[in-house]
């Protein structure tokens, strides 16, 4: 069986779906791993590294012979069309935004797994690419914020006066938000955070930051995710958050609700309430933005001197470790349904749809889109 990793073609995507040091986990099972030449360049993995790890490098068309295709971004409809019937793909594949690719997969008779849909159960944590990539994003958010800020993060008492610590506010304390809190605290900033989930207060405090209690009802959805806010509540939340925002030097927003637009946490007025030289990092820019006026992949400077950094492919900005974590997620999912080669028997895929994870993550199978997803 051939596992193929094509070069990512999406602009700005610097990750690779397999890094050399996990390849042996697949070859050990009896799988052949084929990497498109140059696939790992941005993630500091050369063709030679892959070869040394036991993979084959291919310069030519790779998809048509693949039994399984591993990628980060969804395969394009064109790529999907090239696949054998019955082939398997594993990648990010949002049922909301990647509709074309999903349709193409269904049409091609491909079984396409979406990492967004891996259920958040304990057993699946090692396949949870949303979490691993959010980790990278949260870390990056702080580095970017610190880089753009004209201020120090830590407090420093020096002969030339005392530098006061930066006030960092994190909105949305999920995986990315918590990591942002941790990183900002490491740098010495005074960090506070807000989130709508009830468990969040304890989690924020467990990172050593201050949780902002707004006395609004909490919003918890399925699988530990948040629910969408009503417009009423959103307005109330914005109003109550304004004073905290006004006194922050850096605001990092990470709020998301699965399958929806990112909630709008900050209006233009709230942005304007911040002083010159302050920075906003909007990790949700790609899905609509938590902050009014943020543009994915751009730094917008408001007339008031506030810089808004809109995140785009943020984990790609940490390509080495983002790929490192991503490829382990992918390998864990792949091995879940791979029957290792035994005496006389060849390696095979065994898609057991009774399994909660396989059932949850497979978007297409046998020529059609699965379930009501």
């Amino acid at each position: 069986m051939r596992v193929v990793v094509p070069k990512e073609i999406k602009d700005g995507e610097k990750r690779v779906a397999l890094v050399p040091d996990v390849i042996n986990k697949l070859t050990r099972l009896g799988l052949d791993v084929v990497i498109e030449s140059g696939a790992g360049t941005h993630a500091q993995a050369t063709d030679a590294d892959f070869k040394a790890a036991g993979a084959t490098i291919s310069d030519s068309e790779v998809l048509s012979t693949a039994d399984a295709v591993l990628s980060v971004a969804p395969l394009t409809p064109a790529q999907m069309a090239k696949l054998k019937k019955g082939a398997v793909t594993i990648s990010f594949l949002s049922p909301v935004t990647a509709v074309d690719s999903i349709d193409a997969a269904a049409a091609a008779g491909v079984t396409a797994f979406s990492l967004e849909l891996v259920p958040r159960i304990s057993r699946a944590q090692s396949m949870d690419a949303l979490t691993s990539q959010a980790l990278c994003a949260g870390y990056r958010a702080v580095l970017v914020g610190a880089e753009m800020s004209p201020r120090f993060f830590p407090m420093l008492m020096t002969a030339a006066g005392t530098v006061t610590p930066a006030q960092v506010l994190v909105l949305g304390a999920g995986v990315a938000g918590l990591q942002a809190i941790a990183t900002a605290r490491r740098l010495g900033a005074v960090v506070s955070a807000y989130d709508v989930r009830p468990a969040s207060a304890d989690e924020v405090r467990s990172m050593g930051a201050t949780f902002i209690e707004l006395e609004l009802e909490s919003l918890e959805g399925a699988g530990g995710y948040a629910r969408e806010m009503t417009e009423d509540r959103a307005a109330k939340q914005r109003e109550l958050l304004t004073p905290y925002i006004a006194k922050s030097h850096i605001v990092i927003t990470t709020a998301a609700v699965p399958g929806r637009q990112a909630p709008r946490l900050m209006t233009q007025a709230m942005v304007d309430s911040m002083g010159p030289g302050t920075v906003i990092v909007d990790l949700a820019a790609e899905t609509g933005g938590n902050v009014e006026g943020s543009k994915p992949g751009e730094i917008v400077t408001t007339s008031g001197g506030v810089k808004i950094w809109g995140g785009k492919d943020v984990p790609s900005q940490l390509p080495f470790h983002a790929s490192f974590l991503y490829s382990r997620n992918v390998v864990n999912l792949l091995t879940l349904f791979t029957k290792a080669a035994k005496e006389g028997e060849a390696v095979a895929f065994d898609l057991n749809f009774e399994d909660e994870i396989i059932n949850g993550a497979a978007v297409t199978h046998g020529g059609s889109r699965r379930g009501a997803k």
Binding site: S122, S126, T131, L135, Q179, R185, E203, S206, G208
Partner: protein, 463 residues
């Protein structure tokens, strides 16, 4: 041998007992303390063969009987003590205590018979005291032995009107005691002994299994007092000192044990009088857990060769990262092999434990990944689980269908001892019970992780 020399040797033995108790109350010197005690006892026993009583000639009368009886005692006592299993030691101690009490009662009876009408009132009063308390100690200890050995039910035995029967027995014991003092005679004394034995049984029956050790300790202190009383009757400073020491230290110890186990001493002891018959079939039995004190944890750690620290979300909630590092540093300084076993999803964020422990400056080399640390639990003396739960829950391996089934865990259940620091019996993130909390190898230290760790660190320093 002169009386003075004899007495001085006795005093020396008494001093040995003091040193023995002193030694026994500290882990480092406990063993030596016990040896000193044994030495004192041997000395005291030997010297009595060279001097018995003013005027009596040596060698002792009935020497053959005496030596024969001692040999029998040795043949019974030593093998029993040698062969008993670790877990059965408490009941053996109970048994030994009982026979000691019995011996004291017998000695008092013999001396009473011997003195006959010559006895002073004080001597009779002390004899009566010795007989009562010695017999209570004897029969009470036998019952505790039976309970611990599970030769009878470990639950409180409560029968209708029990408390009235007990009270009545106590009153009769006292009455018969008075009768002995006033009338002097063998019969009343035997009646007294019988009633006292009965009272001992009744006194211990209503005590529940968990409280039995406290009762043993109390009976032990009682026995000490009977020995002191015998010392008065027999004019032996040694017996007075030894008996009083045991009585006093035993009392303190009983109180401390009750405290450590979170029991009310009064409730435990006078349960017999207040207990009402209960519907025993009713509510589901509360499962027993073993909870320890910071001292217990410190001692376990102090004598370990390898310790694995398993941190979880609770460590983060308690912000105990600095304290845990302090603990680890102390253990390392003692030459103990210490590692932190980090589960990949401990906490609520990937790398949560790393963030915390880095803040406390824990060297990266001490952090061990799950795959690295799991094979070492077999050689680990103590796994100390600090505010973690799901990540060590064996249900993940044993209970298909439970929410964490299939998740790899830190196999702390392979370690020789497991210590849990948590605040309650509440489950963790996944909301499922952890069987490990009820494991006999597990000791629970309840409380906020930071507060608990601080106490453990203090206790460790005090060792």
């Amino acid at each position: 041998m002169s009386r003075t020399l004899y007495d001085l040797v006795g005093l020396a033995a008494g001093v040995a007992f003091i040193l023995a108790l002193k030694g026994l109350s500290h882990p480092k010197t406990a063993r030596r303390g016990n040896l000193i005690g044994a030495f004192g006892a041997t000395l005291a026993t030997l010297v009595v063969f060279f001097y018995a009583n003013p005027g009596s000639s040596l060698p002792l009368n009935n020497l053959g009987w005496i030596l024969g009886a001692m040999v029998v005692g040795l043949l019974v006592g030593v093998p029993a003590a040698r062969k008993v299993q670790m877990t059965q030691m408490p009941q053996l101690v109970a048994l030994f205590n009982g026979v000691g009490g019995g011996a004291a009662a017998l000695v008092a009876i013999v001396e009473y018979l011997h003195l006959g009408a010559e006895a002073t009132t004080a001597e009779v009063v002390f004899t009566v005291f010795t007989v009562i308390v010695g017999c209570v100690s004897f029969s009470g200890s036998i019952i505790t032995f039976l309970k611990l050995q599970e030769l009878m039910t470990t639950r409180p035995v409560i029968f209708p009107a029990g408390r009235f029967i007990i009270a009545a027995t106590l009153v009769s014991v006292i009455g018969v005691g008075g009768w002995v003092v006033s009338s002097l005679g063998t019969t009343p004394l035997l009646v007294l002994a019988g009633l006292s034995l009965l009272f001992g049984v009744l006194f211990v029956l209503p005590v529940g299994g968990a409280d039995v050790p406290i009762v043993i300790s109390l009976l032990n202190a009682f026995t000490g007092l009977t020995v002191a009383a015998s010392g008065y009757v027999l004019d032996s400073v040694l017996l007075i000192i030894a008996g009083t020491l045991v009585g006093a230290s035993g009392t303190i110890l009983t109180r401390k044990m009750a405290e450590a186990m979170g029991r009310s001493l009064f409730g435990t002891l006078f349960g017999a009088f207040t207990a009402k018959p209960q519907d025993t079939s009713g509510s589901a039995e509360e499962r027993p857990v073993r909870s320890g004190s910071p001292d217990d944890v410190a001692i376990l750690l102090n004598y370990a060769r390898r310790v694995v620290i398993v941190p979880g979300f609770g460590l983060a909630v308690a912000q105990a990262q600095h304290t845990v590092r302090e603990l680890a540093d102390m253990l390392i300084a003692k030459g103990i092999d210490v590692a932190y076993g980090i589960h990949p999803v401990a906490g609520r964020m990937p790398g949560h434990m790393n963030v915390l422990l880095a803040e406390a400056n824990v060297p990266y080399e001490q952090l061990a990944e799950m795959d690295e640390v799991n094979p070492t639990f077999g050689q680990t003396d103590v796994a100390i689980v600090i505010g973690a739960n799901d990540v060590v829950n064996p249900a993940a391996q044993t209970s298909p269908g439970c929410p964490i089934y299939g998740m790899p865990i830190l196999e702390v259940n392979q370690a020789a001892n497991i210590i849990f620091l948590k605040r309650s019996m509440r489950p963790g993130f996944a909301g499922i019970e952890n069987e490990l909390l009820y494991d006999p190898k597990t000791m629970l230290l309840f409380g906020d992780a930071k507060a608990s760790l601080t106490k453990v660190v203090s206790a460790l320093k005090a060792l």
